[in-house]
Amino acid sequence: MEFNFITVAFIVFSLITLGGAIGVVTCINLFRGTIWLMVSLFGVAGLMVLLSAEFLAAVQVLVYIGAIAILFTFAVMLTRSITSDKMRFTRVWVNVISAGILFVLFALGVIYPVWVANAATHFPVTDAGLATTTDLGVALVSGSQFVLPFEVAGLLLTAAMIGAIVIARDADDEGN
Protein backbone atom coordinates (compact mmCIF):
# COMPACT_ATOMS: atom_id res chain seq x y z
CA MET A 1 0.00 0.00 0.00
CA GLU A 2 1.92 3.03 -1.22
CA PHE A 3 1.50 6.31 0.59
CA ASN A 4 -0.31 8.87 -1.53
CA PHE A 5 -3.27 11.21 -1.64
CA ILE A 6 -5.83 8.40 -1.97
CA THR A 7 -4.36 6.46 0.93
CA VAL A 8 -4.59 9.50 3.19
CA ALA A 9 -8.17 10.09 2.11
CA PHE A 10 -8.98 6.44 2.76
CA ILE A 11 -7.54 6.57 6.27
CA VAL A 12 -9.41 9.79 7.08
CA PHE A 13 -12.74 8.47 5.81
CA SER A 14 -12.27 5.13 7.58
CA LEU A 15 -11.61 6.91 10.87
CA ILE A 16 -14.69 9.10 10.34
CA THR A 17 -16.81 6.04 9.58
CA LEU A 18 -15.65 3.93 12.51
CA GLY A 19 -15.47 6.83 14.95
CA GLY A 20 -19.00 7.85 14.09
CA ALA A 21 -20.17 4.25 14.46
CA ILE A 22 -18.64 3.99 17.92
CA GLY A 23 -20.33 7.27 18.77
CA VAL A 24 -23.68 5.81 17.70
CA VAL A 25 -23.48 2.73 19.89
CA THR A 26 -22.04 4.43 22.97
CA CYS A 27 -23.82 7.79 23.09
CA ILE A 28 -26.04 8.60 26.06
CA ASN A 29 -27.92 11.35 24.31
CA LEU A 30 -29.84 9.93 21.37
CA PHE A 31 -30.00 13.19 19.42
CA ARG A 32 -26.23 13.16 19.43
CA GLY A 33 -26.44 9.54 18.39
CA THR A 34 -28.33 10.63 15.29
CA ILE A 35 -25.63 13.16 14.49
CA TRP A 36 -22.94 10.50 15.00
CA LEU A 37 -24.85 8.21 12.65
CA MET A 38 -24.76 10.94 10.01
CA VAL A 39 -21.02 11.42 10.53
CA SER A 40 -20.48 7.70 10.09
CA LEU A 41 -22.63 7.44 6.97
CA PHE A 42 -20.90 10.52 5.55
CA GLY A 43 -17.63 8.63 5.96
CA VAL A 44 -19.13 5.70 4.05
CA ALA A 45 -20.10 8.13 1.28
CA GLY A 46 -16.47 9.30 1.16
CA LEU A 47 -15.26 5.70 0.88
CA MET A 48 -17.70 5.19 -2.00
CA VAL A 49 -16.16 8.15 -3.81
CA LEU A 50 -12.78 6.46 -3.40
CA LEU A 51 -14.35 3.34 -4.93
CA SER A 52 -15.37 5.54 -7.92
CA ALA A 53 -19.09 5.18 -7.21
CA GLU A 54 -19.87 8.93 -7.08
CA PHE A 55 -23.51 8.41 -7.90
CA LEU A 56 -24.01 6.08 -4.95
CA ALA A 57 -22.11 8.49 -2.71
CA ALA A 58 -24.44 11.35 -3.65
CA VAL A 59 -27.47 9.11 -3.14
CA GLN A 60 -26.03 8.06 0.22
CA VAL A 61 -25.79 11.69 1.37
CA LEU A 62 -29.22 12.51 -0.04
CA VAL A 63 -31.05 9.48 1.34
CA TYR A 64 -29.33 9.19 4.70
CA ILE A 65 -28.57 12.77 5.68
CA GLY A 66 -31.45 14.38 3.82
CA ALA A 67 -34.18 11.91 4.68
CA ILE A 68 -33.32 9.24 7.23
CA ALA A 69 -31.47 11.65 9.56
CA ILE A 70 -34.48 13.93 9.72
CA LEU A 71 -36.71 10.90 10.31
CA PHE A 72 -34.50 9.76 13.19
CA THR A 73 -34.37 13.21 14.78
CA PHE A 74 -38.17 13.37 14.66
CA ALA A 75 -38.44 9.88 16.15
CA VAL A 76 -36.02 10.83 18.93
CA MET A 77 -37.98 13.96 19.75
CA LEU A 78 -41.44 12.37 19.49
CA THR A 79 -40.45 9.68 21.97
CA ARG A 80 -39.38 12.18 24.61
CA SER A 81 -37.47 11.45 27.80
CA ILE A 82 -35.16 9.12 25.93
CA THR A 83 -32.69 11.82 24.96
CA SER A 84 -30.90 11.11 28.21
CA ASP A 85 -31.31 7.43 28.86
CA LYS A 86 -29.23 6.32 31.80
CA MET A 87 -29.71 2.60 31.19
CA ARG A 88 -27.79 2.44 27.96
CA PHE A 89 -26.73 -1.17 27.72
CA THR A 90 -27.76 -4.68 28.64
CA ARG A 91 -25.07 -7.31 29.31
CA VAL A 92 -22.38 -5.05 27.94
CA TRP A 93 -19.29 -7.25 28.34
CA VAL A 94 -20.85 -10.38 26.87
CA ASN A 95 -21.85 -8.38 23.84
CA VAL A 96 -18.48 -6.67 23.48
CA ILE A 97 -16.78 -10.05 23.53
CA SER A 98 -19.20 -11.66 21.07
CA ALA A 99 -18.89 -8.72 18.65
CA GLY A 100 -15.11 -8.94 19.03
CA ILE A 101 -15.13 -12.67 18.23
CA LEU A 102 -17.29 -11.98 15.19
CA PHE A 103 -14.77 -9.39 14.03
CA VAL A 104 -11.89 -11.80 14.46
CA LEU A 105 -13.77 -14.39 12.37
CA PHE A 106 -14.44 -11.81 9.67
CA ALA A 107 -10.81 -10.70 9.71
CA LEU A 108 -9.64 -14.30 9.31
CA GLY A 109 -12.08 -14.76 6.44
CA VAL A 110 -10.79 -11.64 4.74
CA ILE A 111 -7.08 -12.13 5.30
CA TYR A 112 -6.88 -15.90 4.74
CA PRO A 113 -7.52 -15.74 0.97
CA VAL A 114 -5.09 -12.82 0.62
CA TRP A 115 -2.05 -14.50 2.19
CA VAL A 116 -2.72 -18.21 2.14
CA ALA A 117 -4.76 -18.97 -0.93
CA ASN A 118 -3.18 -18.64 -4.36
CA ALA A 119 -3.10 -15.47 -6.41
CA ALA A 120 -5.88 -16.66 -8.73
CA THR A 121 -8.46 -15.01 -6.48
CA HIS A 122 -6.79 -11.65 -6.99
CA PHE A 123 -8.18 -9.59 -9.87
CA PRO A 124 -6.16 -6.74 -11.36
CA VAL A 125 -7.73 -3.34 -10.70
CA THR A 126 -8.38 -1.34 -13.83
CA ASP A 127 -9.93 2.01 -14.60
CA ALA A 128 -10.66 1.02 -18.18
CA GLY A 129 -14.30 0.47 -19.07
CA LEU A 130 -15.54 1.41 -15.61
CA ALA A 131 -19.35 1.31 -15.52
CA THR A 132 -20.65 4.89 -15.41
CA THR A 133 -23.77 6.48 -13.99
CA THR A 134 -25.21 6.52 -17.51
CA ASP A 135 -24.75 2.74 -17.73
CA LEU A 136 -26.49 2.36 -14.38
CA GLY A 137 -29.38 4.55 -15.52
CA VAL A 138 -29.80 2.59 -18.74
CA ALA A 139 -29.54 -0.74 -16.92
CA LEU A 140 -32.22 0.22 -14.41
CA VAL A 141 -34.84 0.82 -17.11
CA SER A 142 -33.81 -1.56 -19.88
CA GLY A 143 -36.15 -4.52 -20.37
CA SER A 144 -33.35 -7.08 -20.44
CA GLN A 145 -31.75 -5.99 -17.18
CA PHE A 146 -33.25 -4.45 -14.06
CA VAL A 147 -36.57 -2.95 -15.02
CA LEU A 148 -38.59 -5.48 -13.01
CA PRO A 149 -36.58 -5.06 -9.77
CA PHE A 150 -36.78 -1.30 -10.35
CA GLU A 151 -40.57 -1.38 -10.52
CA VAL A 152 -40.74 -3.72 -7.52
CA ALA A 153 -38.51 -1.30 -5.59
CA GLY A 154 -40.91 1.52 -6.40
CA LEU A 155 -43.83 -0.60 -5.22
CA LEU A 156 -41.94 -1.50 -2.04
CA LEU A 157 -41.27 2.15 -1.26
CA THR A 158 -44.93 3.06 -1.80
CA ALA A 159 -46.06 0.17 0.37
CA ALA A 160 -43.56 1.12 3.09
CA MET A 161 -44.70 4.73 3.00
CA ILE A 162 -48.39 3.84 3.30
CA GLY A 163 -47.59 1.27 5.97
CA ALA A 164 -45.54 3.77 7.98
CA ILE A 165 -48.33 6.34 7.86
CA VAL A 166 -50.95 3.79 8.92
CA ILE A 167 -48.83 2.45 11.79
CA ALA A 168 -47.69 5.81 13.10
CA ARG A 169 -51.11 7.42 12.90
CA ASP A 170 -52.81 8.04 16.20
CA ALA A 171 -55.76 5.69 16.62
CA ASP A 172 -57.79 8.58 18.09
CA ASP A 173 -57.54 10.50 14.84
CA GLU A 174 -59.86 8.15 13.04
CA GLY A 175 -62.92 9.34 14.90
CA ASN A 176 -62.38 12.94 13.82
Partner: protein
Protein backbone atom coordinates in the same frame (compact mmCIF):
# COMPACT_ATOMS: atom_id res chain seq x y z
CA UNK B 1 -5.29 10.85 -11.38
CA UNK B 2 -4.19 13.47 -13.90
CA UNK B 3 -2.03 16.41 -12.98
CA UNK B 4 -2.35 19.51 -15.18
CA UNK B 5 -1.34 23.18 -14.74
CA UNK B 6 0.05 24.17 -11.38
CA UNK B 7 0.32 20.56 -10.27
CA UNK B 8 2.51 19.73 -13.26
CA UNK B 9 4.72 22.73 -12.58
CA UNK B 10 5.16 21.68 -8.96
CA UNK B 11 5.87 18.07 -9.92
CA UNK B 12 8.49 19.22 -12.43
CA UNK B 13 10.00 21.43 -9.73
CA UNK B 14 10.84 18.31 -7.74
CA UNK B 15 7.82 18.04 -5.43
CA UNK B 16 6.43 14.55 -4.78
CA UNK B 17 3.57 13.86 -7.24
CA UNK B 18 0.98 13.07 -4.58
CA UNK B 19 1.92 16.22 -2.64
CA UNK B 20 1.78 18.33 -5.82
CA UNK B 21 -1.72 17.04 -6.55
CA UNK B 22 -2.77 17.78 -3.01
CA UNK B 23 -1.37 21.34 -3.07
CA UNK B 24 -2.99 22.23 -6.39
CA UNK B 25 -6.34 20.78 -5.32
CA UNK B 26 -6.12 22.59 -2.00
CA UNK B 27 -5.47 25.94 -3.69
CA UNK B 28 -8.38 25.26 -6.04
CA UNK B 29 -10.70 24.52 -3.13
CA UNK B 30 -9.62 27.70 -1.33
CA UNK B 31 -10.20 29.80 -4.45
CA UNK B 32 -13.62 28.31 -5.26
CA UNK B 33 -14.87 28.66 -1.70
CA UNK B 34 -13.33 32.14 -1.50
CA UNK B 35 -15.58 33.47 -4.26
CA UNK B 36 -18.85 33.03 -2.32
CA UNK B 37 -17.25 34.32 0.88
CA UNK B 38 -16.29 37.58 -0.79
CA UNK B 39 -19.55 37.79 -2.72
CA UNK B 40 -21.70 37.55 0.38
CA UNK B 41 -20.16 40.71 1.86
CA UNK B 42 -21.44 42.76 -1.07
CA UNK B 43 -24.71 40.83 -1.31
CA UNK B 44 -25.64 42.01 2.16
CA UNK B 45 -25.03 45.62 1.10
CA UNK B 46 -27.07 45.15 -2.12
CA UNK B 47 -29.90 43.50 -0.23
CA UNK B 48 -30.10 46.31 2.31
CA UNK B 49 -29.98 48.99 -0.37
CA UNK B 50 -32.70 47.32 -2.46
CA UNK B 51 -34.91 46.73 0.56
CA UNK B 52 -34.45 50.35 1.59
CA UNK B 53 -35.35 51.69 -1.85
CA UNK B 54 -38.47 49.52 -2.01
CA UNK B 55 -39.50 50.79 1.42
CA UNK B 56 -38.79 54.40 0.41
CA UNK B 57 -35.69 54.75 2.58
CA UNK B 58 -32.07 55.45 1.67
CA UNK B 59 -30.40 52.50 3.33
CA UNK B 60 -26.80 52.34 4.54
CA UNK B 61 -24.92 55.45 3.35
CA UNK B 62 -22.50 56.43 6.12
CA UNK B 63 -19.57 54.03 6.00
CA UNK B 64 -17.54 54.42 2.83
CA UNK B 65 -18.85 55.53 -0.58
CA UNK B 66 -22.58 54.73 -0.88
CA UNK B 67 -22.26 52.86 2.42
CA UNK B 68 -20.31 50.12 0.66
CA UNK B 69 -18.20 49.42 3.73
CA UNK B 70 -21.21 49.11 6.04
CA UNK B 71 -20.97 45.32 5.97
CA UNK B 72 -17.37 45.43 7.18
CA UNK B 73 -18.45 47.61 10.08
CA UNK B 74 -21.23 45.13 10.88
CA UNK B 75 -18.78 42.29 10.61
CA UNK B 76 -16.46 43.90 13.15
CA UNK B 77 -19.42 44.58 15.41
CA UNK B 78 -20.51 40.93 15.21
CA UNK B 79 -16.99 39.71 15.89
CA UNK B 80 -16.48 41.77 19.03
CA UNK B 81 -19.93 41.04 20.45
CA UNK B 82 -20.18 38.74 23.43
CA UNK B 83 -20.38 35.14 22.29
CA UNK B 84 -23.06 33.58 24.46
CA UNK B 85 -23.63 29.86 24.82
CA UNK B 86 -26.70 28.99 26.92
CA UNK B 87 -25.89 26.89 29.99
CA UNK B 88 -28.35 24.17 29.05
CA UNK B 89 -27.21 23.99 25.43
CA UNK B 90 -25.40 21.06 23.89
CA UNK B 91 -22.10 22.87 23.36
CA UNK B 92 -20.64 20.79 20.54
CA UNK B 93 -23.76 20.70 18.37
CA UNK B 94 -24.65 24.29 19.24
CA UNK B 95 -21.32 25.46 17.88
CA UNK B 96 -21.25 23.12 14.89
CA UNK B 97 -24.69 23.99 13.51
CA UNK B 98 -23.83 27.46 12.07
CA UNK B 99 -20.76 26.02 10.37
CA UNK B 100 -22.74 23.21 8.71
CA UNK B 101 -25.42 25.67 7.67
CA UNK B 102 -22.92 27.94 5.95
CA UNK B 103 -20.94 25.03 4.50
CA UNK B 104 -24.06 23.56 2.91
CA UNK B 105 -24.39 26.72 0.81
CA UNK B 106 -20.70 27.16 0.01
CA UNK B 107 -20.44 23.51 -1.09
CA UNK B 108 -22.96 24.18 -3.86
CA UNK B 109 -20.44 26.56 -5.44
CA UNK B 110 -18.09 23.67 -6.14
CA UNK B 111 -20.17 22.71 -9.18
CA UNK B 112 -20.99 26.23 -10.43
CA UNK B 113 -19.36 26.77 -13.84
CA UNK B 114 -18.30 30.43 -13.73
CA UNK B 115 -17.02 30.41 -17.31
CA UNK B 116 -16.63 27.65 -19.92
CA UNK B 117 -13.12 27.05 -18.57
CA UNK B 118 -13.29 27.93 -14.88
CA UNK B 119 -15.21 25.80 -12.43
CA UNK B 120 -14.50 23.91 -9.24
CA UNK B 121 -15.34 20.50 -10.64
CA UNK B 122 -17.56 19.27 -13.44
CA UNK B 123 -19.26 16.37 -11.69
CA UNK B 124 -21.06 13.78 -13.78
CA UNK B 125 -23.79 13.92 -11.12
CA UNK B 126 -23.83 17.70 -10.58
CA UNK B 127 -27.58 18.11 -10.14
CA UNK B 128 -27.78 15.24 -7.67
CA UNK B 129 -24.81 16.70 -5.77
CA UNK B 130 -26.70 19.99 -5.45
CA UNK B 131 -29.75 18.27 -3.95
CA UNK B 132 -27.60 16.16 -1.61
CA UNK B 133 -25.57 19.11 -0.35
CA UNK B 134 -28.58 21.38 0.07
CA UNK B 135 -30.17 18.76 2.33
CA UNK B 136 -27.32 19.31 4.82
CA UNK B 137 -28.84 22.72 5.57
CA UNK B 138 -32.02 21.12 6.91
CA UNK B 139 -30.03 19.02 9.32
CA UNK B 140 -28.07 22.08 10.47
CA UNK B 141 -31.26 23.96 11.31
CA UNK B 142 -32.73 20.98 13.15
CA UNK B 143 -29.50 20.65 15.15
CA UNK B 144 -29.42 24.36 15.93
CA UNK B 145 -33.01 24.31 17.16
CA UNK B 146 -32.48 21.28 19.34
CA UNK B 147 -29.04 22.15 20.70
CA UNK B 148 -30.20 25.61 21.83
CA UNK B 149 -32.48 23.92 24.37
CA UNK B 150 -35.14 26.59 23.97
CA UNK B 151 -38.76 25.90 23.19
CA UNK B 152 -39.09 28.71 20.66
CA UNK B 153 -35.97 27.54 18.89
CA UNK B 154 -37.27 23.97 18.75
CA UNK B 155 -40.71 25.05 17.54
CA UNK B 156 -39.06 27.19 14.89
CA UNK B 157 -36.83 24.30 13.85
CA UNK B 158 -39.83 21.96 13.55
CA UNK B 159 -41.60 24.43 11.31
CA UNK B 160 -38.53 25.00 9.20
CA UNK B 161 -37.85 21.33 8.74
CA UNK B 162 -41.47 20.66 7.76
CA UNK B 163 -41.23 23.52 5.27
CA UNK B 164 -37.84 22.57 3.83
CA UNK B 165 -38.60 18.87 3.49
CA UNK B 166 -41.91 19.59 1.77
CA UNK B 167 -40.55 22.16 -0.66
CA UNK B 168 -37.67 19.92 -1.62
CA UNK B 169 -40.14 17.76 -3.58
CA UNK B 170 -41.24 20.37 -6.15
CA UNK B 171 -37.66 21.67 -6.22
CA UNK B 172 -36.31 18.28 -7.26
CA UNK B 173 -39.13 17.64 -9.73
CA UNK B 174 -38.50 21.03 -11.34
CA UNK B 175 -34.75 20.35 -11.36
CA UNK B 176 -35.38 17.10 -13.21
CA UNK B 177 -36.90 18.91 -16.20
CA UNK B 178 -33.63 20.52 -17.42
CA UNK B 179 -31.75 17.35 -16.47
CA UNK B 180 -34.12 15.32 -18.62
CA UNK B 181 -34.05 17.77 -21.52
CA UNK B 182 -30.25 17.90 -21.51
CA UNK B 183 -29.91 14.18 -20.85
CA UNK B 184 -27.16 14.80 -18.29
CA UNK B 185 -26.71 15.90 -14.69
CA UNK B 186 -23.42 17.73 -15.31
CA UNK B 187 -23.86 21.49 -14.94
CA UNK B 188 -21.47 22.33 -17.80
CA UNK B 189 -23.24 19.96 -20.19
CA UNK B 190 -26.63 21.34 -19.15
CA UNK B 191 -25.41 24.79 -20.20
CA UNK B 192 -24.08 23.53 -23.51
CA UNK B 193 -27.39 21.78 -24.19
CA UNK B 194 -29.03 25.21 -24.12
CA UNK B 195 -26.77 26.61 -26.84
CA UNK B 196 -29.61 27.03 -29.33
CA UNK B 197 -32.55 27.47 -26.96
CA UNK B 198 -32.74 28.24 -23.25
CA UNK B 199 -34.76 25.77 -21.24
CA UNK B 200 -36.89 28.56 -19.81
CA UNK B 201 -38.66 28.77 -23.19
CA UNK B 202 -39.20 25.02 -23.25
CA UNK B 203 -40.60 24.75 -19.75
CA UNK B 204 -41.37 28.11 -18.11
CA UNK B 205 -43.50 26.28 -15.56
CA UNK B 206 -40.50 24.32 -14.30
CA UNK B 207 -38.57 27.59 -13.98
CA UNK B 208 -41.36 29.17 -11.93
CA UNK B 209 -41.67 26.07 -9.74
CA UNK B 210 -37.92 26.03 -9.13
CA UNK B 211 -37.98 29.73 -8.33
CA UNK B 212 -40.85 29.44 -5.84
CA UNK B 213 -39.50 26.39 -4.08
CA UNK B 214 -35.98 27.75 -3.89
CA UNK B 215 -37.42 30.94 -2.41
CA UNK B 216 -39.04 28.71 0.21
CA UNK B 217 -35.81 26.76 0.74
CA UNK B 218 -34.01 29.97 1.64
CA UNK B 219 -36.80 30.90 4.01
CA UNK B 220 -37.62 34.21 2.38
CA UNK B 221 -41.00 35.94 2.28
CA UNK B 222 -43.70 34.89 1.58
CA UNK B 223 -42.33 31.73 3.19
CA UNK B 224 -40.31 33.36 5.98
CA UNK B 225 -41.73 31.22 8.75
CA UNK B 226 -38.15 30.43 9.69
CA UNK B 227 -37.89 33.73 11.50
CA UNK B 228 -41.51 34.75 11.91
CA UNK B 229 -40.59 37.47 14.41
CA UNK B 230 -44.14 38.09 15.53
CA UNK B 231 -44.87 34.44 16.32
CA UNK B 232 -41.63 32.73 17.25
CA UNK B 233 -39.45 35.56 18.60
CA UNK B 234 -36.73 34.70 16.06
CA UNK B 235 -37.16 31.05 15.21
CA UNK B 236 -34.42 28.47 15.41
CA UNK B 237 -31.58 31.00 15.85
CA UNK B 238 -33.03 32.77 18.89
CA UNK B 239 -30.19 31.75 21.22
CA UNK B 240 -27.41 32.59 18.80
CA UNK B 241 -25.40 35.77 19.11
CA UNK B 242 -22.33 37.37 17.61
CA UNK B 243 -20.63 35.71 14.69
CA UNK B 244 -22.53 32.43 15.07
CA UNK B 245 -25.75 34.28 14.36
CA UNK B 246 -23.88 36.08 11.60
CA UNK B 247 -23.08 32.78 9.91
CA UNK B 248 -26.75 31.73 9.72
CA UNK B 249 -27.47 35.19 8.42
CA UNK B 250 -24.71 35.07 5.80
CA UNK B 251 -25.75 31.55 4.76
CA UNK B 252 -29.27 32.79 4.05
CA UNK B 253 -28.06 35.79 2.02
CA UNK B 254 -25.65 33.68 0.05
CA UNK B 255 -28.27 30.99 -0.55
CA UNK B 256 -30.54 33.50 -2.30
CA UNK B 257 -27.83 34.51 -4.74
CA UNK B 258 -26.76 30.89 -5.19
CA UNK B 259 -30.31 30.07 -6.20
CA UNK B 260 -30.13 32.88 -8.74
CA UNK B 261 -26.98 31.33 -10.18
CA UNK B 262 -28.50 27.85 -10.28
CA UNK B 263 -31.62 29.16 -12.01
CA UNK B 264 -29.36 30.86 -14.54
CA UNK B 265 -27.46 27.66 -15.19
CA UNK B 266 -30.49 25.39 -15.36
CA UNK B 267 -32.95 27.58 -17.26
CA UNK B 268 -31.28 30.73 -18.61
CA UNK B 269 -28.32 29.23 -20.37
CA UNK B 270 -25.63 30.06 -17.82
CA UNK B 271 -22.94 32.14 -19.54
CA UNK B 272 -24.43 31.58 -23.01
CA UNK B 273 -24.88 34.92 -24.72
CA UNK B 274 -22.97 36.61 -27.54
CA UNK B 275 -19.17 36.46 -27.13
CA UNK B 276 -19.28 33.84 -24.35
CA UNK B 277 -16.05 32.23 -25.53
CA UNK B 278 -14.15 35.00 -23.77
CA UNK B 279 -13.85 33.98 -20.08
CA UNK B 280 -14.39 37.46 -18.62
CA UNK B 281 -17.43 38.18 -20.79
CA UNK B 282 -18.90 34.77 -20.00
CA UNK B 283 -18.44 35.46 -16.30
CA UNK B 284 -20.12 38.86 -16.73
CA UNK B 285 -23.14 37.30 -18.50
CA UNK B 286 -23.55 34.70 -15.75
CA UNK B 287 -23.27 37.37 -13.06
CA UNK B 288 -25.69 39.69 -14.86
CA UNK B 289 -28.39 37.05 -15.35
CA UNK B 290 -27.99 35.82 -11.77
CA UNK B 291 -28.21 39.40 -10.48
CA UNK B 292 -31.49 40.02 -12.31
CA UNK B 293 -32.98 36.87 -10.79
CA UNK B 294 -31.57 37.87 -7.41
CA UNK B 295 -33.22 41.25 -7.73
CA UNK B 296 -36.59 39.62 -8.53
CA UNK B 297 -36.19 37.46 -5.45
CA UNK B 298 -35.52 40.54 -3.29
CA UNK B 299 -38.45 42.33 -4.90
CA UNK B 300 -40.81 39.49 -3.96
CA UNK B 301 -39.35 39.32 -0.48
CA UNK B 302 -39.96 42.98 0.19
CA UNK B 303 -43.45 43.26 -1.26
CA UNK B 304 -45.30 40.07 -0.37
CA UNK B 305 -46.79 39.44 3.07
CA UNK B 306 -46.02 36.30 5.07
CA UNK B 307 -48.21 33.23 4.67
CA UNK B 308 -49.50 31.18 7.59
CA UNK B 309 -47.87 27.79 8.18
CA UNK B 310 -50.98 25.86 7.12
CA UNK B 311 -51.29 27.99 3.98
CA UNK B 312 -47.66 27.35 3.14
CA UNK B 313 -48.14 23.61 3.51
CA UNK B 314 -51.43 23.61 1.59
CA UNK B 315 -49.84 25.62 -1.21
CA UNK B 316 -47.04 23.09 -1.48
CA UNK B 317 -48.95 19.83 -1.29
CA UNK B 318 -52.07 20.85 -3.22
CA UNK B 319 -50.53 23.16 -5.79
CA UNK B 320 -46.79 22.86 -6.32
CA UNK B 321 -46.35 19.10 -5.96
CA UNK B 322 -49.18 18.06 -8.35
CA UNK B 323 -48.18 20.67 -10.92
CA UNK B 324 -44.52 19.70 -10.79
CA UNK B 325 -45.36 16.00 -11.24
CA UNK B 326 -47.75 16.80 -14.08
CA UNK B 327 -45.18 19.03 -15.75
CA UNK B 328 -42.44 16.41 -15.44
CA UNK B 329 -44.67 13.70 -16.91
CA UNK B 330 -45.76 15.97 -19.76
CA UNK B 331 -42.19 16.93 -20.63
CA UNK B 332 -40.93 13.34 -20.44
CA UNK B 333 -43.77 12.02 -22.59
CA UNK B 334 -43.65 14.78 -25.20
CA UNK B 335 -39.87 14.72 -25.58
CA UNK B 336 -39.87 10.96 -26.07
CA UNK B 337 -42.72 11.07 -28.59
CA UNK B 338 -41.09 13.93 -30.51
CA UNK B 339 -37.77 12.13 -30.58
CA UNK B 340 -39.45 9.05 -32.02
CA UNK B 341 -41.23 11.21 -34.63
CA UNK B 342 -37.99 12.98 -35.49
CA UNK B 343 -39.28 16.38 -34.39
CA UNK B 344 -36.74 16.79 -31.62
CA UNK B 345 -32.95 16.37 -31.88
CA UNK B 346 -31.40 13.70 -29.68
CA UNK B 347 -28.37 15.80 -28.81
CA UNK B 348 -29.37 19.35 -27.95
CA UNK B 349 -25.76 20.58 -27.71
CA UNK B 350 -25.21 20.02 -31.44
CA UNK B 351 -28.68 21.07 -32.63
CA UNK B 352 -29.40 24.26 -34.59
CA UNK B 353 -32.18 26.70 -33.81
CA UNK B 354 -34.37 25.35 -36.60
CA UNK B 355 -34.14 21.80 -35.25
CA UNK B 356 -35.03 22.86 -31.72
CA UNK B 357 -37.87 25.23 -32.59
CA UNK B 358 -40.76 22.72 -33.10
CA UNK B 359 -39.87 20.96 -29.85
CA UNK B 360 -39.73 24.29 -27.99
CA UNK B 361 -43.14 25.37 -29.30
CA UNK B 362 -44.83 22.09 -28.39
CA UNK B 363 -43.32 22.00 -24.91
CA UNK B 364 -44.20 25.65 -24.35
CA UNK B 365 -47.80 25.02 -25.41
CA UNK B 366 -48.04 22.01 -23.07
CA UNK B 367 -46.89 24.26 -20.23
CA UNK B 368 -49.45 26.89 -21.19
CA UNK B 369 -52.16 24.21 -21.22
CA UNK B 370 -51.22 23.07 -17.71
CA UNK B 371 -51.20 26.69 -16.52
CA UNK B 372 -54.63 27.38 -18.04
CA UNK B 373 -56.07 24.27 -16.41
CA UNK B 374 -54.60 25.33 -13.08
CA UNK B 375 -55.90 28.89 -13.33
CA UNK B 376 -59.36 27.58 -14.21
CA UNK B 377 -59.31 25.35 -11.16
CA UNK B 378 -58.15 28.20 -8.91
CA UNK B 379 -60.89 30.39 -10.37
CA UNK B 380 -63.66 27.89 -9.66
CA UNK B 381 -62.39 27.28 -6.12
CA UNK B 382 -62.27 31.04 -5.52
CA UNK B 383 -65.75 31.52 -6.87
CA UNK B 384 -67.14 28.75 -4.67
CA UNK B 385 -65.60 30.17 -1.53
CA UNK B 386 -66.79 33.66 -2.44
CA UNK B 387 -70.32 32.39 -3.02
CA UNK B 388 -70.23 30.55 0.30
CA UNK B 389 -69.13 33.72 2.11
CA UNK B 390 -71.78 35.81 0.38
CA UNK B 391 -74.52 33.32 1.23
CA UNK B 392 -73.38 33.28 4.84
CA UNK B 393 -73.40 37.09 4.96
CA UNK B 394 -76.88 37.26 3.43
CA UNK B 395 -78.11 34.71 5.93
CA UNK B 396 -76.73 36.79 8.83
CA UNK B 397 -78.25 39.96 7.39
CA UNK B 398 -81.67 38.31 7.10
CA UNK B 399 -81.31 36.92 10.62
CA UNK B 400 -80.74 40.44 11.96
Amino acid sequence: MDCPGLCEALANGGVNLGLAQFISLFIGVVLVSGVPLVTVIFLIWIERKVAARIQDRIGPNRVGPFGLLQTFADLIKLLIKEDITPTAADRLLYNAAPLVSFASVVLIWAIVPFTPYHYGVDLEIGALYFVAVASLGTLAIMTAGWASNNKYALLGAFRVVALLVSYEIPLVFALMVPVMLAGTMSMVDIIYAQSSMWFVFMSPLAMILFFISSQAETGRAPFDLIEAESELVAGFNIEYSGMKFGMFFAAEFLHVFTNGILLTILFFGGWLFPLWNEPLIAFAWLGLKASVLYFISLWIRNTVPRMRIDQVMWFNWFRLVPISILNLLAVAFLVKVMQELGLAPRDLAQATLGEVLPMTIILFLSNVAIAIGLLGQVRSVGRESRLATETAQTATAVGD
